[in-house]
Amino acid sequence: MSAALVLDAMRGDHDAFAALITAATARLYALACLILRDPDRAEDATQEAFVRAWREIPRLRDADRFDAWLRRLVVNACYDEARRVSRRAEVSLISIGDRSVGDTTAASAESDRIEQAFRVLPLDQRTVLVLQHYESLSHTEIAETLGIPVGTVKSRVRYGVAAMRAALDADDRSAATPAGRRSA
């Protein structure tokens, strides 16, 4: 990210803005996909965030904070998108990480189990886990991104991981149970 490009974009240079978001799109779209677990919604959220970024970039106070600011817009757009989905009861079952039926490798099975455990987490917990484990942000940076206290970040991470561990453990126990009794 070039501070000069950001300053140009802040002054209304659309080419500079285009260069900035072109460079950031892959990472931010992936971020949205991981949070929302739906490629179509992620696409909408990313686009909405970019449009908002264009409108609001003149109000950015510190050009060096552009990356964090844009990330925050994308996360906020994901929240908006999730609320919209919830309001319309249109929760998509499409999964980015879904494996084909024939893919039965152990690694793939483990990936599916993580996917299932992650998907049922509340949005707040999914978001902090993605920011920590995909974006590699510190708890302080996550707190700044989300505009919440660091303590809240830590508790969301803790509860999220605990919930995933519980789900995976339950899955382990289920797998160890004889097939005839699994649905009993």
Partner: protein, 425 residues
């Protein structure tokens, strides 16, 4: 698993899983559609004199203090320009200047940091600003002789043109939401909230929200006139007629497939309503009596029909927003796009004054904007006005109360209609 799983195990697995399932590349349409929208959407400008000034309802005191600051800043800029001129320095302006043939032919020089000279633009004429009314984050303006309505994030401000003051402000929603269109008719002031997917109806007398009407997937443009109210549902691909009695949307008029970048902005005239549809590159013509599409006018060349529309006798003018910064002309007699005009910048919604379309053109940064008139005889820009040294351009215009009004950043400028010239310019 032989040993109990720890939190650390889960976190390691999460990191590996996220790296594995994260999509390697985004769909290209994200950027394509973003650019279609951002080239049309205005930036929310914040000029130096906005900083440190509390944002209020725009009362008299604030108006005076802001106006004073504006004058100080303009004065300093002029002094700097004059000093540079005296020592033989300076840069060529983006728009060549001539002395204004106006009632106040003061030696106004419009500086520009740009070294680009657009050879086909006529010399710019300074136009005196009658009043600059601060309206924080002003996006667009509509109105008539009695009142102007300025939309800003989360609110609509009312300007009284008899006093040039903001006389009211109506909160219409979360300032963080994305607001797009605003229109006014005898039934009220209407604004679209893209985020909340609703059309907000404001009572122009009580200055209160009278209704919130669900308006499709992504409401953008809104048209309100004596015939009715219509909303462009951009993602739904339809134009929604609004029942003003029941405060609800009727059956959508399909103008495109449901997708991003569907119907955008409206114009009205020649017995029809017109709406630009970027994703199928047409301008849809709709009969307001039957709410049926009577024509889909295809765009020509690189023109993307995603800007504002004005309709005058025998011509429909629409602004584009592709990389090529153009306006286009449609012949309503044949429903064909007959000309495109290079604007030399991103243009606002056209406004017809004295039979000719005018646009506020964004030069790219503050101080490089200008007002341009298109000569319908030649389909070229034949007159250029520059209000002051900080004019950014690109904000919408209208004519009301004997003046021209234009939104420019956080202010609404009142300009003398005489400066916009007669037919010969």
């Amino acid at each position: 698993m032989s040993e109990p799983r720890t939190d650390r195990d889960v976190e390691r697995a999460l990191t590996a899983w996220m790296d594995h399932v994260a999509p390697p590349r985004p769909p290209s349409r994200i950027l394509e559609r973003t650019f279609v929208q951002t080239m049309q959407a205005r930036q929310l400008r914040r000029y130096p004199w906005n900083a440190g000034i509390p944002v209020g309802a725009g009362g008299r005191t604030e108006l005076v203090s802001r106006a004073t600051l504006v004058l100080v800043v303009v004065g300093v800029l002029l002094a700097v320009v004059a000093a540079v001129a005296l020592v033989g320095g300076g840069q060529r302006p983006a728009v060549p200047l001539v002395t204004a043939p106006s009632p106040t032919p003061t030696a106004v020089v419009v500086p520009s940091p740009s070294a680009t000279v657009a050879p086909s633009l006529p010399a710019a004429i300074p136009v005196p600003i009658e009043t600059a009314i601060p309206v924080a984050d002003a996006m667009t303006v509509v109105g008539d002789d009695q009142a102007l309505w300025v939309m800003a994030p989360g609110r609509i401000d009312r300007i009284d043109p008899s006093t040039d003051t903001v006389t009211g402000s109506v909160p219409i929603g979360d300032p963080g939401d994305l607001y797009n269109g605003v229109a006014v008719n005898a039934s009220g002031v209407w604004a679209t909230n893209w985020t909340a997917q609703e059309l907000v109806r404001v009572n122009a007398t009580t200055l209160k929200v009278a209704a919130r009407i669900p308006a499709g997937l992504a409401p953008k443009g809104v048209l309100a006139n004596a015939d009715g109210v219509w909303v462009a549902d951009t993602h739904g691909g339809t134009v929604l007629p609004i029942d003003q009695t029941l405060n609800r949307a009727g059956t959508g008029i399909k103008v495109a497939e449901a997708a991003n970048s569907g119907p955008n902005w409206f114009g009205s005239g020649e017995g029809s309503i017109w709406v630009g549809v970027p994703n199928n590159s047409t301008v849809a013509r709709i009969d307001p009596g039957t709410n049926t599409v009577t024509a889909a006018v295809p765009a020509t060349g690189d023109f993307v029909p995603c800007g504002g529309i004005a309709v005058d006798a025998g011509a429909v003018w629409i602004t584009g927003c592709s990389a090529v910064m153009m306006a286009a002309r449609i012949d309503p007699a044949t429903n064909t796009m007959v000309a495109t005009i290079d604007l030399h910048g991103y243009g606002s919604t056209p406004t017809v004054i004295n039979g000719k379309p005018w646009l506020s053109v964004q030069g790219g940064e503050p101080g490089t904007g200008f007002l341009a008139r298109i000569d319908p005889g030649t389909n070229t820009i034949d007159r250029v006005l520059v209000p002051d040294t900080t004019f950014g351009g690109g904000g919408d215009m209208l004519v009301a109360a004997g003046s021209a009004w234009v939104v420019d950043g956080g202010r609404v400028l009142r300009l003398p209609l005489a400066a916009f010239g007669a037919a010969t310019g």
